[in-house]
């Protein structure tokens, strides 16, 4: 079964930030849901140090 994770994206054209379910290994053209630009930056989760 395909694994999905919720990933955060930011549109580099209008600044809109949104989350989307991403299937592992999916090959999909991304477009901003607000302005439809393709300048979509995938914001990677930052690692949190446990102490």
């Amino acid at each position: 079964m395909a694994t999905t994770t919720i990933e955060t994206f930011r549109c580099m054209a209008c600044g809109h930030e949104y989350q989307e379910d991403v299937e592992r290994g999916e090959d999909k053209e991304r477009g901003c849901p607000k302005c439809r630009s393709n300048s979509i930056r995938h914001l990677k989760k930052k690692a949190v140090a446990k102490g």
Partner: protein, 599 residues
């Protein structure tokens, strides 16, 4: 070669090597005379896949009546066992001694010059659409099951009966577009064949059983082929009623087994209730399940709906993007028998022409590896969408020029300048960057555009007279994947306030999937710019097709607005911050002997 599967394909146009697994039949086809004695004595009974499970077969059987060669095969998964032999009845009765329980799969290697992919289709399984009760009600069947039931070679010998009580149905409903044109279940495409298949079924029913009442529930009837409209009119004249509206669900009368459907007839605007003896789900078709495997074997790309993508939808509709590979039939797009036969003919002509020519002409735009500069890292090999780069650990990379299509993804990936893209070299592209940004770079929006789509989109904007600011300076590359990180950074170093990288839409990439490398590279660049405290928004990515002149103009207008927000300080900071760092000189290692002597 039947009952065989392609395991591996290597090589390139004119020189493919295919490794084929010839599956074990356990019956020697040269000895078997299809007398059927083995089948009679076989005690195993399994659902017959060819008859869509409506009848049974034995473990030893002929898969379908027209099978070539016409000989039995023994399905070992169903057999009671050959190790130790638990039954052995078939071998005992076979006079020709054709059955061999010790048969094994055989691997065959063939050298071929061209390959035609004709792997067919799968039919949609409507079990997930529970609203029509396909798994709950006996008298709800699919169009494929209908086909077997009305066929003279079918399980009932052509006597059309309900599976529930084996009575002849008098009122039959057909629901169209089950598993087609439905984005909710991930199948937005039209399956192309279902409308005409249903029309043909209604004509068959009208011919065999004139007293049958047929109702077709549809959203559109797509009868666009030769004589298809005529068939549709004949079906209506034969008494078939066409109701424009798709029922939401179906219920069963437990006493009679009849199906009750309620539908809004969108032509009259009235709600209609129909009691039917049988409900036929006109199921759509989908790409076969082993598309992934074939796609991997031949490095083929697929459209968003999963079918194989052709080299060009108008000019090369039977060619795959990989040279020497052709398509025939459904795997490329849903099509009927006539279109499939046409495409198969075209594919065979294309491969014939290719093979008869003896040699092929290729574009001069190909990659070349500099063996001296190559560090043998192998990073270039996996980015090539065509598998045109040969690399083995510890060896320098080499390009098969006949397989290289000239996207330049490898050249942009190589960090050691070891790959030169003929006619689009780093030196040539950098010279264009420098020339375009030589004067007043702060007033310019710098764009990289791919040859096939984005650059053509710019042309379209021009010839369509779409207005956009004159500030843009466009550099053309064959593919957006040719644009390396260094090229983008060089544009910023030259003072560009805004840089755009643009290419084909995902489904349109002219180099299979090379533009996915562009996405990865731009993502990296955004991170890099942020680390250098350069506003990452100054780098933009857009997919613009050749027809999207309007989008090209809109993007340029938007980027001009963005350019106006970039200050002189920001440009100056970027020039400094993105300067290539000088490489650290390694201190020469002291020879251990010399070091010891010094002490």
């Amino acid at each position: 070669m039947t009952f065989a599967e392609v395991e591996e394909i290597s090589g390139y146009v004119g020189n493919f090597t295919a490794k084929i697994r010839k599956k074990a039949r356990f019956v020697d086809p040269t000895l078997c005379n299809a007398c059927g004695e083995c089948e009679k004595v076989c005690p195993v009974v399994k659902p017959d896949e060819f008859q869509t499970g409506l009848s049974s077969r034995k473990a030893i059987y002929i898969p379908f009546p027209q099978a070539v060669p016409c000989s039995y095969i023994l399905k070992m998964d169903d057999c009671l066992g050959n190790n130790p032999i638990a039954c052995g009845e078939c071998a005992e009765v076979c006079e020709k001694k054709a059955i061999n329980y010790d048969d094994n799969d055989e691997i065959v290697t063939r050298e071929v010059g061209a390959i035609t992919v004709a792997i067919g289709l799968d039919v949609y399984d409507p079990t997930e659409m529970d609203e029509y009760g396909y798994t709950r009600f006996n008298n709800v069947i699919t169009s494929m099951e209908f086909e077997r039931l009305i066929c003279a070679g079918g399980p009932t010998g052509g006597h059309f009966v309900r599976p529930g009580d084996h009575q002849r149905p008098k009122r039959i409903g057909f629901i169209q577009c089950v598993g087609s044109r439905n984005p909710k279940i991930g199948r937005p495409w039209c399956s192309n064949i279902c409308c005409m298949n249903t029309i043909k079924d209604t004509l068959l029913l009208a011919d065999h059983y004139p007293d049958t009442e047929n109702i077709v529930f549809y959203q559109d009837i797509r009868a666009f082929g030769k004589s298809f409209e005529d068939m549709f009119q004949r079906s209506k004249q034969a008494g078939t009623r066409y109701v424009r509206g798709i029922p939401g669900d179906a219920e069963e009368d437990p006493e009679t087994g009849n199906l009750i459907v309620t539908v809004e007839n969108t032509t009259t605007g009235k709600l209609e209730r129909h009691e039917l003896d049988m409900l036929v789900l006109s199921v759509g078709v989908e790409p076969p399940k082993d598309m992934d495997k074939i796609s991997g074997l031949l490095t083929l790309s697929r459209t968003s709906d999963g079918f194989f993508m052709e080299s060009h939808p108008k000019l090369k509709p039977v060619d795959a993007p990989t040279r020497g590979v052709f398509f025939a039939g459904f795997c490329e797009a849903p099509k009927d028998i006539k279109d499939s036969v046409c495409q198969a003919g075209a594919a065979s002509s294309r491969s014939g022409a290719l093979l008869n020519a003896g040699e092929i002409q290729i574009e001069a735009i190909t990659s070349r590896v500099d063996e001296v500069k190559c560090t043998k890292c192998g990073v270039c090999a996996p980015v090539c969408p065509y598998g045109a780069i040969i690399w083995k650990k510890g060896e320098t990379a080499a390009v098969i020029e006949a397989a290289c299509a000239g996207c330049g993804a490898c050249g942009a990936t190589c960090r050691f300048d070891a790959i030169t893209m003929r006619h689009f070299t780093d030196v040539q592209i950098n010279a264009q960057i420098h020339a375009n940004l030589a004067e007043r770079p702060e007033d310019k929006v710098f764009a990289f555009a791919c040859n096939w789509c984005s650059y053509a989109g710019g042309d379209m904007a021009g010839i369509s007279r779409f207005q956009y600011p004159a500030s843009n300076r466009v550099v053309r590359t064959m593919c957006s994947a040719r644009v390396s990180e260094e090229m983008v950074l060089e544009a910023f170093r030259c003072g560009a306030p805004v840089v755009l990288v643009s290419g084909c839409h995902y489904a349109d990439c002219h180099y299979i999937d090379a533009n996915r490398q562009t996405v990865k590279r731009v993502q990296k660049l955004w991170d890099k710019l942020e680390r250098a405290r350069v506003r990452p928004e100054r780098l933009q990515l857009e997919w613009i097709s050749a027809a999207e002149g309007q989008k090209f103009a809109a993007v340029m207008r938007r980027l001009e607005e963005l350019r106006k927000t970039v200050t002189a300080e920001e440009i100056a900071h970027a020039r400094e911050a993105l300067k290539p760092k000088p490489k650290k000189k390694k201190a020469p290692k002291q020879e251990p002997v010399a070091a010891a002597a010094a002490t």
